[in-house]
């Protein structure tokens, strides 16, 4: 159960991460921190205002989108116009990650001061509804993940905006020649990715223990998932996220049964090792493997 929820949320994060990478060509290290923001939106809505945790989803989407837009228009766009390379842009996202993490921590301290509640390590499982004996988050996360994938597929393939977005991803200069406002497209992409990531973050505390460092931990898994799915492929990102999510939770559980509970501490190392192995062995990830299998089957048929 844990693995399904985790994988669905991770898939939502990985889609956004991959989309940012395709459109802007930078690894966005601040992506996990969107989820951190989502976690604290959920906390505020549920514990401070006393509302249903699912109400935080739309708020999370909008706030995350706005944060994404602010990051893009204040920092990324300025640096791009100045002619900063990929390294400079990546350093800037790292700086944003540090700042946002610190702000989340400060907000958590503020919450503790205001309400007297412990706002560092918490989860909201008890506020969830139950359906057929299972927690509602299992249905919600799975359905949300699938619907986001379908919506995104529809958006990218059927709408004018989506086609323009794919054009920009292929070749920004050519797209601009064709009269596409690539600036607006990028803004849209950052809005969508920020929104989806924060949405995933708001659902996170419904099943898992959350803290201000949640975002930091998720970014590693998110990077690993995207790399596993070949960083240029949104559908690959979903596969990668599910493989990684399952490996992280089921694999750790299995290892703990085999070698004792001491192994459980090393859970967060799995995505890191995955990153290194994928980059070392085959930077194109799983799609490369699938393609190879496909060509082999075709070859045998011929």
């Amino acid at each position: 159960m844990s693995a399904i929820v985790y994988s669905s949320l991770l898939a939502m994060l990985c889609i956004g991460y991959t989309l940012t990478y395709i459109i802007s060509k930078i690894p966005n290290f601040a992506h996990g921190t969107y989820a951190g923001i989502g976690v604290y939106i959920a906390y505020t809505i549920t514990n401070t205002l006393g509302l249903n945790p699912y109400l935080s989803c739309p708020f999370g989407f909008i706030i995350g989108g706005i944060v994404g837009v602010i990051i893009y228009s204040l920092v990324v766009k300025t640096l791009k116009n100045m002619g900063g390379g990929a390294v400079v842009l990546t350093i800037s996202t790292l700086a944003i990650q540090i700042v946002m993490n610190a702000l989340i921590n400060i907000y958590a301290t503020f919450l503790r001061m205001r309400s007297g509640n412990w706002a560092y390590m918490f989860f909201l499982k008890m506020h969830d509804f139950k359906l057929f004996g299972y927690q509602g988050i299992i249905y919600v996360s799975t359905i949300l993940c699938i619907s986001i994938v379908i919506l995104l597929h529809f958006f990218l393939n059927k709408t004018k905006m989506g086609v323009a977005m794919r054009c920009t991803a292929e070749d920004p200069n050519l797209a601009e020649i064709l009269g596409i406002n690539s600036d607006r497209i990028q803004l849209m992409a950052w809005f969508i990715t920020g929104g989806i990531a924060t949405l995933a973050g708001t659902l996170f505390p419904l099943w898992f223990e959350s803290s201000p460092t949640t975002g930091d931990r998720l970014i590693n898994a998110c990077m690993a998932g995207s790399l596993l799915g070949g960083i240029n492929n949104i559908y690959g990102a979903i596969i990668g996220a599910f493989i990684l999510g399952m490996a992280e939770i089921l694999g750790t559980t299995w290892l703990m049964y085999t070698f004792g509970t001491g192994v459980g501490e090393y859970r967060y190392i799995i995505p890191l090792v995955a990153v290194i192995i994928v980059l070392f062995v085959q930077p194109e990830g799983v799609p490369w493997l699938l393609n190879k299998i496909k060509t082999r089957i075709k070859g045998s048929e011929e």
């Binding site: 390294v87 990546t90 700086a95 001061m113 590693n220 790399l227 090393y266 990153v275 290194i276 930077p283």
Partner: protein, 383 residues
């Protein structure tokens, strides 16, 4: 005469300046001069520290046992008693202590270089952003391993390190500060000379254009590996000195924020590609950080949250501001100064034109050709 706490603060700032300026110079060596964005200096620092806590500490115990000192068997829980015993032993044997210290430094340098080779194996074939991702992943992994694998650094409890300067009755940190500053100075001259050497120019060309470098038959991957190894060794040496300064080693000390982001900030503030700038940047940042740490209580009166988060906000915001408004840093990079070579002269010599021929062929005035040459010279200067 002088307030003791002020002396202490000055020593503290000097020590941290020595440590960080060396790390920042190593980063400058990699990023500023060769364009290798190494985000993994925290790994090397942690490795140097683990060399001391994992290898040298055990060696000290073995020597102590041979000399007939009672050494408890448990690495973590008997640590305090063992260290106290070792300290009394070292206070009687100053030469042994110094020898062990030098041994630890050598081990840090040698093993750190080897470790750099191991790190470079997966990282070497990757370019800029992928390299950064790999290095960040490695730093996180080193944190997790260090926290959970007890034999290398005592896990979350940490281990104490015996005081090898126990014979010196005064402030031990003064000695270490002097040694660290000396290391910083030596590495400054080493880096400076390396940059002016043919190999240094090779590195600059790697930064400017890798394809051209490959096309003239140089091995770009080999150069990158050597750079990573060299700077990993020096950064590990800093890890060794750090552990001796704290007399304590725990994995949570060697965080990414402490040993990757702050040195990067120094590098960016001072200006990449320029060791003098790195000196300036490191001094400014270290002075600010240590003063914040020393006057923590007074500053914390104004804020409701812990000051550590304020530090992080400052780190991120200053980094962003520098990147956006002053990407070349406080002291921009200058052309290399090599004795006996005058760049302006070379440029003048390169473009030697037969005026009469040129006039006939192009049918242009002398002034127009002059303007053309000037623009060419400008472009060469820029590059």
């Amino acid at each position: 005469l002088v307030d003791a706490s002020l002396v202490r603060a000055a020593i503290d700032i000097a020590m941290f300046f020595g440590l960080y300026v060396t790390i920042a110079m190593a980063l400058n060596f990699q990023y500023g001069n060769a364009g290798v964005p190494n985000m993994g200096s925290a790994v090397s620092v942690a490795f140097g520290a683990y060399v001391v806590s994992g290898i040298c500490l055990r060696l000290m115990y073995v020597i102590g046992m041979k000399a007939g000192i009672e050494i408890g068997p448990d690495y973590v829980y008997d640590n305090l008693v063992n260290v106290a015993n070792m300290n009394t032993y070292f206070s009687k044997h100053p030469l042994l202590g110094i020898a062990l210290f030098l041994f630890a430094m050598t081990m840090g340098l040698v093993l750190g270089t080897l470790f750099g080779y191991v790190v470079s194996l997966p990282a070497i074939r990757l370019r800029s952003t992928y390299l950064m991702i790999t290095m960040i992943a490695m730093s996180e992994a080193s944190q997790i391993i260090g926290r959970n694998y007890v034999p290398i650094s005592g896990g979350t409890l940490g281990v104490r390190i015996p005081n090898v300067f126990a014979f010196y009755s005064g402030d031990r940190s003064l000695l270490l500060a002097i040694i660290t500053l000396a290391v910083g100075l030596v590495s400054f001259f080493v880096f400076k000379n390396m940059l002016n050497s043919p190999y240094g120019r090779l590195m600059r060309s790697l930064r400017e254009n890798e394809v051209t470098l490959n096309s003239v038959g140089k091995n770009a991957i080999g150069i990158r590996r050597n750079i990573l190894m060299f700077s990993s060794g020096i950064t590990s040496l800093i890890g060794v000195l750090l552990v001796f300064y704290f007399s304590f080693s725990t994995a949570t000390n060697y965080t990414m924020s402490n040993f990757t982001y702050w040195p990067w900030l120094m590098l960016m503030v001072g200006g990449p590609g320029n060791n003098t700038g790195t000196f300036l940047g490191a001094f400014l940042v270290i002075a600010m950080r240590r003063l914040i740490t020393i006057y923590k209580w007074e500053i914390n009166q104004f804020f409701w949250f812990p000051i550590a988060f304020l530090e992080q906000v400052i780190l991120g915001v200053v980094l962003l501001v520098i990147l956006m408004f002053k990407p070349e840093g406080l002291i921009p990079e200058k052309a290399l100064h090599i004795r006996g070579i005058d760049y302006n002269k070379i440029i003048e010599e390169d473009i030697r034109i037969d005026w009469k021929q040129e006039k006939k062929r192009a049918g242009e005035s002398k002034q127009g050709i002059m303007d053309k040459i000037k623009s060419v010279i400008k472009i060469t200067h820029k590059n």
